[in-house]
Amino acid sequence: MTGRQIRPTRLQDRLVGFFVVLLMTVQLVSFLFIRYAIDHTAQNTMREELRVGSRVLKRILDQNNQELALATSVLTYDFGFRESIATRDRATILSTLGNHAARVKASGMAVIGLDGVVVADTLQDGATGKPYPFPNLVERAGQLGRASGVRVIGAKPYQIVVVPVLAPLPIAWVSMSFVIDDATARDLQRVATSDVSFVQVSGGEARILATTLGTLRRAQLAAAAGEVIATARDGATTRLGGDDYEVLATPLEDTGQVPIYAIVQRSTADGLTAYFLLEVILLIIAGLSLAVTLAGAIRIAGRITRPVTQLGAAAQEIERGNYAVRVGGESSDEIGELGRVFDRMAAGLAERDNMRDVLGKVASNEVVARLLEGGDIELGGEERDVTVMFTDIRNFTAIVERLTPDQSLQLLNEFLTVVSELIDAHGGVVDKYLGDGVMALFGAPVTREDDAQRALNCALEIRRRVEALGPVLAQRDLPHPQIGIGINTSRVIAGNIGSPSRLNYTVLGDGVNLASRLEGLTKRYHVGIVVGHATREKVRGIVWRELDKVRVRGKTVPERIFEPLAREGELAPEQAAHLARWHEALEMFRHRRWELAAAGFRELAPVPGYERITFLYLGYVRDLEANAPGEGWDAAFTLYEK
């Protein structure tokens, strides 16, 4: 769980991030490709459009030419016209020319004699009587019946058609001129869908003859025209006044000495307008797909991570001990399987926990833990030093005799609960319940340094608690409970005892029996706790009262037994004095100084806590005075039975 805090990025975020970054990368790459393709296509398209426009323009000029030539031919066949030419009267001819030129909306019309001299010219009056300036047109008209070309007259370009006047043989030539001006360019612009300019180049200097461009652009084109003509025969991109243009320059056919070019041009930005819309649409589509992907990725990632999160939460629950948690696994995929496995694991844990619980009730937690964790449960044992404690409520029968069985059991359980909890609290293990008594182990199955000390502390605590219980029971008009505790430390055999199907972990040995005997001796000495010598040796900080020496049947060495009076420093000086007097008297007794011993016992007999023991010892003294003991007397009291 700490891993989560260290790494704040959630799996879901990473999944979503991955998908989004992936999609964005793909989209970016596609967009760049499309952008490149569009730019490329746009330029190609524009160039192609310019080429088409240029072809259309030339075609239109050509068609115009033919139409003009035709119209001129038709005009010259007009009988009146021919008649007028035949008159050779210049004024009449000039008037006729003006009239006929107006018929076909020509800019000018001239008659040239068969000798090549201008007879009349509506465009340039001064040309009359001089050789026609474009004799090659006349010559070609003589060969082909008509000729046409673009020529600059003054500063203006004209489309000129020359045809013979036939009557029916040529009697003269007629030249018809149609000016190419800005209006012509605008007409052409409508079909060529591009700006159209006519540029004359002479002596390296370009001059705009006619154009659809405005004044500013016209000047810009004039400045760049030389370069455009040199480079843009098949289309080029050029920069005019800060804007990019696709331009195409085409030389017009048959323009005489001076080349004239038609330049078609389109603003690159205009050409890209349609593609700009496409790009916007692409961006919108990209945005939408990104949004859909984002939503989808969040949903899918959520589907993946939600069970994981649930599993995590469930695992936390299990960590806290709630084995009832279930995550379920509806889906058939791996995550569903994981959920099902998790649930089975939780069920297993719950079962195991339940078993441990049940075992803990019938056996000590530590024993259960050892059994559960130790794997194989084996019969057999080991030798170890164990402090065994037996407790018993002396007067339980007396207490419960006025109670119903239920009330009796309830009270007993209260006792046992308190005692068991205290044993647990002191690191002991309840070995078994013996009616109203408890057998507890300190040092098995787990050995610790201070097993004896803890056992004694436990006993002191039990004694204190049971004494505190007295007033409570007194309120219910019940007798004061008398606790008896025997403690002994010895080397015992510990292990699982029983049959393979039903086992008890317990301890065996003389020391165990002695502890039980010591518990029994509490009745004899009217004390709460009787401790064997081995235990006393291991315990510190306690003020002891030696009670006696006891010999267990079959044993030669007697056992000194003690009662813990209080913790060191807690004993009142008066009590200390009594204790010292007691031990002095006991010493006298063991050295067969009956008189001195009896004097001590009698002295202490009225002191609370000494009544019973002095009574016992005064009885010993009387017996021993009556029957003097033998040489082997060791002042021990022999235990014949429990």
Partner: protein, 210 residues
């Protein structure tokens, strides 16, 4: 083939008169070639007498329009001759000429209704039809009664010439420059052979108009 344009057979007395002249008249046998030596048809040849030519009444000539053509293509007449333009086509024609020798125009007509046109000045007259641009014909007006037109073999004959000095001339509608002229002296009963040369334009003069 007689070069006289009159197709109708002459009356008997005319024939007799001609025969009486013939007895003491000269004639010229002429062949016309181009600069390459090829004989050319429809070349007009005429003999201009040094002395005054006898005045004789002119007979009307005619240039038909048939199948939207002028027939014959080339007609030679003496000055003062009236020429009719009978229309043998089912459509009308409007014959005209802007030539300096005789500008004229006959308004749309059919059949033989058009009045004859008097050709009173020598020279070339190019004929056209105002509603049929393809129609082209020539009338060549000479100021002498002695003229002829070469046949397909490029030869022709001018007969009944009185003895004397003449200038022999040639014209062709496709000539690129004025034809050759030659001075000849004829005795009364002589038959002279003459070869005349005329340079033609490399191409027909009306090329490309249709």
């Amino acid at each position: 083939m007689k070069s006289h344009s009159n197709r109708r057979a002459p009356p008997l007395f005319v024939a007799a008169m001609l025969a009486s002249f013939a007895a003491r008249a000269a004639s010229v046998e002429i062949t016309v070639t181009d600069s390459h030596g090829a004989r050319i048809a429809d070349a007009v040849v005429w003999a201009m007498p040094k002395a005054a030519a006898p005045q004789r009444p002119r007979r009307e000539a005619s240039v038909e329009q048939r199948d939207q053509r002028f027939s014959p293509l080339v007609t030679v007449v003496q000055t003062g001759t009236k020429v009719r333009f009978p229309n043998r086509d089912p459509v009308r024609h409007q014959v005209y000429s802007f030539s300096a020798a005789k500008p004229f125009e006959i308004k749309l007509y059919a059949g033989t209704s058009a009045p004859p046109i008097l050709f009173d000045r020598p020279g070339e007259v190019v004929l056209g039809c105002n509603i049929h641009d393809d129609m082209l014909g020539y009338i060549y007006v000479v100021d002498t009664p002695w003229f002829a037109k070469t046949a397909a073999d490029g030869a022709t004959r001018i007969a009944d010439l009185p003895g004397g000095d003449y200038e022999l001339k040639v014209w062709h509608y496709a000539q690129s420059m004025p034809g050759e002229a030659r001075a000849i002296r004829l005795r009364a009963d002589e038959t002279l052979a003459a070869a005349l040369n005329v340079s033609l334009k490399a191409q027909p003069s009306r090329a490309g108009t249709r």
